[in-house]
Symmetry: D2
């Protein structure tokens, strides 16, 4: 951590700041510049609150040198992490493909799609039971009933299920039924929820918030890990930019960036990023080519009548074709799809 002091600060004030930093367990190095004066802090600065120092009226700015995350940091585990769910691996050469409808609509729908995506090679079934919707007047999901239908689909196909948790008050029922709990983009900084899923043993799929920086994204994973749950899969799903041809802008550079900073596996959701079914295929290919550890794809047997997100869902047939190409790309990447 580097503290840049304001021009004209007195020797006395400098010594005060140095003493304070030493009291926080850091050793202190002073560099006297021409127009600016800086202090370098040495030691474990990850638990020092940057804001606390910035508040000093003699401090111009504070620059972090070390990343603020510890458990999620690549330095802890340079070889990378694998998250394993029902025998399927994600990370370190294992590609996880999660497919299914935006929301669970009926027994027939979810079982039919589950069978289709399994046949094409998906390793996991997704399907929303509790749905975050911008409008209170839109379909809010089948909720508990949706979870039960997912469980039936798992029985029929053997596919582990991935579904979104929207409130800590649902944790018991999720722990009972679900293989991977998804924390959605809108809840990425719902810290009370992060803490609660962190106390669970169920793996967590954490989606990046629409306006979250990569560092904040990893810090939210750190929240979960700090409570003890280290089975976290990150998911890039598009960030909000000025461009609105696509619903969000898929930030594929985030994949190599996250892999450099953290050991956690990271997958891509091209369906929500673009919001356009015809873009799912090219973006999925790009995601695998850039190094993602998996994909989360919306598949629906009747997109035009889907209760939500039909415009971004591909059909089972399109999904089959996509899986064919994904397998080819995996070979080039020396990876294999888990199923």
């Amino acid at each position: 951590m580097v503290i840049v002091l304001k021009p004209g600060i007195s020797r006395e004030e400098i010594e005060k700041i140095k003493l304070k930093m030493q009291s926080l367990g850091c050793s202190v190095h002073e560099v006297v510049g021409e127009s600016r004066h800086i202090i370098g802090l040495v030691g474990d600065t990850s638990k020092i609150d940057k804001e606390l120092i910035s508040a000093n009226k003699n401090v111009e700015k504070v620059v972090n040198i070390q990343e603020p995350f510890k458990k999620a940091n690549r330095l802890i585990k340079p070889e990378g992490s694998v998250v394993e769910v029902a025998g399927r691996k994600i990370g370190c050469g294992h590609i996880g493909i999660i497919a299914g409808p935006c929301s669970v609509e009926s027994r027939e729908q979810i079982i039919s799609i589950a069978k289709d995506v399994k046949t094409s090679g998906a390793g996991f079934l997704r399907g929303g039971a509790f749905k975050p919707r911008t409008s209170p007047y839109s379909f809010q999901g089948l909720r508990e009933d949706g979870l039960k239908l997912l469980v039936e689909a798992r029985k029929e196909t053997g596919l582990p299920i991935v579904t979104e948790i929207m409130s800590a008050s649902h944790l018991d029922i999720f722990e009972e039924h679900v293989d991977v709990m998804q924390v959605g983009a809108r809840n990425m900084q719902n810290f009370e929820l992060l803490k609660e899923v962190g106390k669970s043993k169920v793996p967590v799929l954490l989606k990046r918030g629409m306006s979250s920086s990569i560092e904040e994204f990893i810090m939210s994973a750190e929240y979960i890990m700090a409570e003890g749950n280290e089975n976290v899969i990150l998911c890039e799903r598009g960030i909000r930019t000025f461009e609105n041809y696509t619903r969000n802008t898929l930030d594929l550079s985030a994949i190599p960036a996250i892999k450099k900073l953290s050991h956690l596996p990271v997958i891509v959701d091209p369906s929500h990023a673009a919001g356009l079914a015809w873009m799912v295929e090219p973006l999925s290919k790009a995601a695998i080519a850039v190094g993602a550890d998996g994909l989360m794809i919306e598949v629906h047997n009747d997109p035009a009548n889907a209760k939500c997100d039909g415009q971004q869902s591909i059909t089972p047939l399109q999904f089959t074709n996509l899986m064919h190409t994904i397998n080819q790309l995996a070979v080039i990447e020396n990876k294999a799809v888990s199923f």
Copy 2:
């Protein structure tokens, strides 16, 4: 709502879409263009799911003409709403000033600041008890104990208290103690929380999410109102942009925009927007000049030792000076500060 059809669509497909739209309760008008064909829908379209229509493979895009919010819509109440808390009004010419520390730290701290801001003319006391922090290793607030200290400060000063609720599981204790429940920017689309505070009678201060559009912001207020709680105050607090001289970019154009679209009162938080204490004064003045119904300002008696956000907190003395200017500006705007 206008549906733009893809070029080359058959007459049969057009008729199918028209029938479907009529079945949703709309009357349908067709406009035959040269390269494009459009369908105009007439009737109450606020409950029609845009996505549902977009999913049709013959639809190129769907354009909303009517706003998707009903209860928050200005059309319902052209004269504007007033939210009243403990005799203090916000909206329609009444300016509410909410001031206090980022977080409650101790009995002495909160009572001392409460007295100071009351003397200078604040109408409400703010102070965080439950704190949303990017890092799990940062100070998380005094939680329940913080609420109790706020209650003591209210007893001493008579100022109603405004504080953030981070989980629906805390609703009981908030309803018992708090005058205004704040839903923070990170929880603006925590829909389960919005529904719960919507069932309460306690007024809600809803902050705009960092990457939330104005329409989404009002839709989150609609979530609360749809459950019955119409005492909603909106708060602009900066959006995330590429510019990082300030922590976020205060979007002051949002104030007149929201006033045009909605009847709800809207205030501004210059402290979190800029993240810089010295910018609070000019931004506060600009907020009142642009038409805001109030301000939410961080005031701390010892910013350099504040447990959080010290770099953006002003001192009680600076707050006194600010209030002097705010009162002058209020006169130009034909408004008055509530206290």
Copy 3:
């Protein structure tokens, strides 16, 4: 084009607007809604000024249905365009690889790199002679002397040269020496320059502005094409977002989007997008996988001593390895690298 009228507009005013639209050559269809009234325009609306209509005090908003570009529109040439330079094709299955240093520094440097990239399979040599720099105190390029060195490198290797034009006053010398004139991101809406290069016959590589929408980007190509020069290659090079781990955010969704909207070939510059040499490889692969018609890559024989952009330049050896993977991916895409 759809015109949404304000609520409460009189019949007389509606008729005035309809007459005005008819006078612009459109036929007019009226749809009477409950709270809003809309007018659909049929005919060639690409030359109607949206702003002109928006300015009417009875108009709430104007929605474009048809794209505003004509010559660049995919509808004109559904099969796509090929731009051919010195026997090398870009577009429609032909991948163009443009490689070389950020700036031309010396005879030895440019010839050595040119030979290296040719050997590895590049089809074009890039190198900046006139350099746009944020600071007036940074190296501004060798200017005319740089162009001459590029010409020498072409003589030695046969590679056509691509270099940036920063002012219309340099057009003569560029037309004499250069194979492809690049218009940089910062000049994407330098309309006087666009018009001038549009009068030339030399192919133009047009880079997307950092905050340019896809539509504006294609409109800038339209400026060039409207003057007669239809040899335009588009280049996505990252957009400005809140994320600053990378210098800009590479918008790979823009590739399929542009291909849907326009027939022009579109390539990707991963070097400038990320600003990080180690990210060039994964982003290049993703670009080809998403459907780009080529790449523009910075290669330097001594990045640590490059006069500019060394941090984002890869070495000739890294480039050789990259070309190996690109060729594998091209096969999957049924494409071939031009050389």
Copy 4:
């Protein structure tokens, strides 16, 4: 400047970097941390190229401590600059109001508006002769004829004229006729144009690019000043964000930020920022309240028939009312409108 080295760097490599930095005229201070090693540079680093150092494979990142601008830096002139045009001052308590139509359309139009805005208290007449338009098919301005009409309007009213220069090839005619040359947002980093206007003595109004950071904005002023022309007025006109209710997002925080960093006067253009006539008044008030040194406002006598930007132009009557409020606010700010 602080150089953060990669973990595991050898002593030999560190010494090499230190020697290189010393050869650039800096003195070097080393701070040995636990996981990172940093080097502080002392001396004039404003002419050191950050990229050059970043390119070293042992360097993780480089952090600027000192601002990269010199002539525009507030440190040079703490009391602030005044730009004077035809006896009217802008800066240091003097508010400049520039008003007029988006584009010059006819003799009658420009003279009529010029008289109106003069009567209401404007100090300068604006009007576009050369117009930057997104579409090549939109009205491009009257060009040279427009300049002549502006000159006539000046003769009639005595108001100095402000108009946009789009190409260095027009410099002669601008120097002959124009009082203030405007460099538009799209040309903010047209460095060849900046250099040319920097060689002139005519004051320059430099608009902020839509996606330009505050630092880049001031660096573009530095380009002009480095060539000798120190009469630069900065103009904030909205930045591009995800919010599209307004055309751009007016960044009013930029005003106090620029005033802290630079001594140059800075004004606000609310008309282009919002793109909505009804928002001009509240945003103008906010701009003055936040500390701007002036305003640039589009005024048209017949907005519905304006050849461009009619939707954002206010009428002379609205302008008169606005000037009344601006004068009231100026008093609170201890400033006065120049005329």
